[in-house]
């Protein structure tokens, strides 16, 4: 048994915890773990940037980035092309991968908590199928447009994702209340409907190039990463991320039944609405810039929960950090496994994520959701 199962009544508890209550915290040192997670991201990001069609020593990558941060203009001992490759091609891609992982994982944690269902993921209530249909329309009809550095595919995917969520929520909102079960079923039904439209459009297009494009988008990829995409997702995350974190304690209380949550003073309807809107917004943005990347939003929160317990105040930020690390590593594999060809990153997340998840389930059975 873990230390959390010791009798905590012992006042003479040794160790750095002056109060007996502190020994009961799960995890013991949350802040330290979060800083460590941040450090791991920086490390993985530098390694990710170093790797590619030709590799650059990680130390050099770090110095190039550092020089950019402090703004030195003195001549550098490496070719200018390296800086271009790093700053214009590899860095936005790594950053976007980290942001998408850091968006989908806490969103998945929030959905699992809202629905009190371990199988929930960010795509549960129709976001992926809505985004998929939007992107398919843009690709199949060859729509052209630019909007703040984003193409028609992204814009349509975003609109599709939000429209699907709003539709599902409206359908299940009856008499001032939202039934979680209805929300879930409406999401599944609408998802099937939209997917059938997507498939119809794919067959109707009857154009091999466009079909490959659609399938590739539906699997998710960072091949089209750019600074504007990363900036868009970063700004949405900067607003919505803290909001999700601030609502984490209410999400804890919602793990009780609805009546108890109300009796503990949590305004259940409003909390649920805020969380659904916030989680859907980050998910829709992530999907519109990278396609439908599966599995991260499902397994990363579970992995964090299995290791550090179910407290959402830790789970949400730690899921964001772990999701970012996981996604950068997955993208690294997607780029290198069939090099110079590239795999859709969704293939890698499922291939690596599922066995790891099964292993975790076996290891810590008593901590399952």
């Amino acid at each position: 048994m873990s230390q959390a199962n010791e009798r905590p009544g012992n006042r003479g508890l040794p160790g750095p915890w002056p109060n007996p209550e502190d020994a009961l915290r799960r995890p013991r040192r949350p802040a330290l773990l979060l800083w460590a997670g941040l450090a791991v991201i920086l490390l993985v990001a530098v390694l990710g940037v170093a790797q590619g069609s030709f590799s650059i020593p990680p130390v050099t990558v770090a110095s190039i980035l550092w020089r950019r941060v402090i703004g030195t203009v003195s001549p550098a001992p490496w070719p200018d092309s390296w800086e271009t490759v790093i700053l214009d091609i590899r860095l936005p891609r790594i950053l976007l991968a980290a942001l998408v992982g850091g968006a989908l994982s806490p969103a998945g944690a929030v959905y699992q908590g809202l629905f009190r269902n371990p199988l929930a993921d960010p795509y549960l209530i129709g976001i992926s199928s809505g985004a998929g249909l939007g992107a398919t329309i843009a690709i199949a009809f060859g729509l052209q447009m630019r909007w703040g550095g984003l193409g028609a595919v992204s814009v349509f995917a975003f609109i599709g994702a939000l429209a699907a969520t709003v539709l599902v929520y409206t359908v299940s909102h009856l008499g001032g209340r939202t039934s979680v079960a209805t929300l879930l079923l409406a999401g599944v039904a609408l998802g099937a409907f939209l997917s059938s439209l997507t498939t119809f459009l794919m067959f109707r297009a009857a154009d091999a190039f466009r079909t490959v494009h659609i399938v590739g988008w539906l699997m998710g990829s960072f091949a089209l990463s750019s600074w504007p995409r990363a900036q868009l997702l970063a700004s949405v995350l900067m607003v919505v991320g803290p909001l999700l974190w601030a609502y984490a304690h209410r999400l804890n209380v919602l793990q009780l039944d609805e009546d108890q949550a109300r009796q503990l003073g949590v305004p259940v309807e409003r909390t649920r609405l805020v969380l659904i809107v916030a989680a859907s917004l980050v998910t829709a943005t992530a999907v519109s810039v990278s396609g439908v990347i599966g599995f991260v939003g499902l397994i990363v929160p579970h992995a964090v929960r299995l290791v550090w317990g179910p407290d959402y105040r830790f789970l949400i930020p730690m899921s964001a950090l772990s999701g970012a690390v996981f996604m950068v590593l997955a993208d690294g594999l997607a780029r290198s496994l069939l090099s110079p060809a590239e795999l859709p990153v969704g293939v890698v997340t499922a291939f690596c994520g599922a066995p790891f998840f099964l292993y975790l389930l076996r290891q810590r059975k008593h901590l399952a959701f």
């Binding site: 905590p8 109060n19 974190w245 601030a246 804890n252 009780l256 039944d257 407290d311």
Partner: protein
């Protein structure tokens, strides 16, 4: 106060008053409206007519968290997430006092610990809910209600799934807390004898209306009970407390041996 649902009146003209240090017991046959009453008082439902006042202020005027600081509920069969620890569960009682980031202070932790010591579950603090017995879970829920530092306590069949030993322990504990902290308490009971033993006042509900209201010896009389439950009963004083005890009269009593 009256409450209707889909055109059916579930509770009709119920008039109740709770006072500090007193426990009011609500009894009545299945479907009499006992649980509906608790749900109305904790604002999970809204009355169709009449009013419910808490500290002299209309219930609907209270903010959710403000109300949870004054009124705590111990539900009939609470669903508890199995992966939280007993400690985390009791700390949730501090929810209405937390700031916008939901972070507990040192003071919140001390209050939660005191509540657990009071209900005798502090030694279980680090255990997961799934590792606790039914009686232990019930005491954790009581500790959570205490951590809310309420003035009013509502209990919906607090001992429904407990064995006889835990029934006595739990109700004695609640009666002591009602006295010590001068809580105004209302408890729903299925078991007439437990209600008789532990309550200062009883309210007998039948089909949503109050049939009898008063001290246990005023309410628990054969004619009143027969009218409400439709079964013949004998009432005798408890050998120690002298409170009335109710015994159903079986039409054809089976042989004792």
């Amino acid at each position: 106060m009256t409450f209707s649902f889909n055109g059916t009146t579930v509770l009709d003209r119920v008039d109740l008053h709770l006072e500090p240090g007193r426990m009011v017991g609500v009894i009545g046959p299945n479907g009499a409206g006992k649980t509906t009453l608790v749900r109305l008082l904790s604002r999970l439902l809204t009355p169709a007519e009449g009013q419910i006042q808490l500290n002299g202020r209309e219930l609907s005027h209270w903010q959710p968290s403000e109300m949870a600081r004054v009124l705590a509920v111990i539900p009939q069969n609470p669903e508890l997430p199995p992966t939280f620890t007993a400690w985390e569960m009791v700390l949730m009682g501090r929810t209405p006092y937390l700031g916008w980031m939901g972070k507990e202070s040192e003071g919140d932790r001390v209050i939660a610990r005191r509540a657990m010591e009071k209900t005798g579950v502090w030694h279980l603090a680090g255990r997961l809910i799934s590792q606790l017995s039914g009686g232990e879970q019930q005491r954790v829920v009581i500790a959570r209600a205490l951590a809310q530092q309420p003035r009013v306590l509502l209990l919906d069949e607090p001992t429904a799934h407990l064995d006889i030993n835990h029934q006595v322990q739990t109700l004695t504990l609640i009666a002591r807390l009602v006295q010590e902290r001068q809580l105004a308490a209302l408890a729903v009971f299925h078991d007439l004898n437990l209600a008789s033993q532990h309550c200062d006042e009883l309210v007998l509900l039948h089909r949503g209306t109050v049939v009898a209201q008063g001290s246990p010896s005023q309410v628990l009389t054969p004619p009143v009970l027969q009218q409400a439950y439709g079964t013949e009963v004998d009432v005798m004083p408890h050998p120690h407390s002298g409170r009335p005890m109710v015994f159903p009269v079986c039409p054809s009593p089976p042989s004792a041996n």
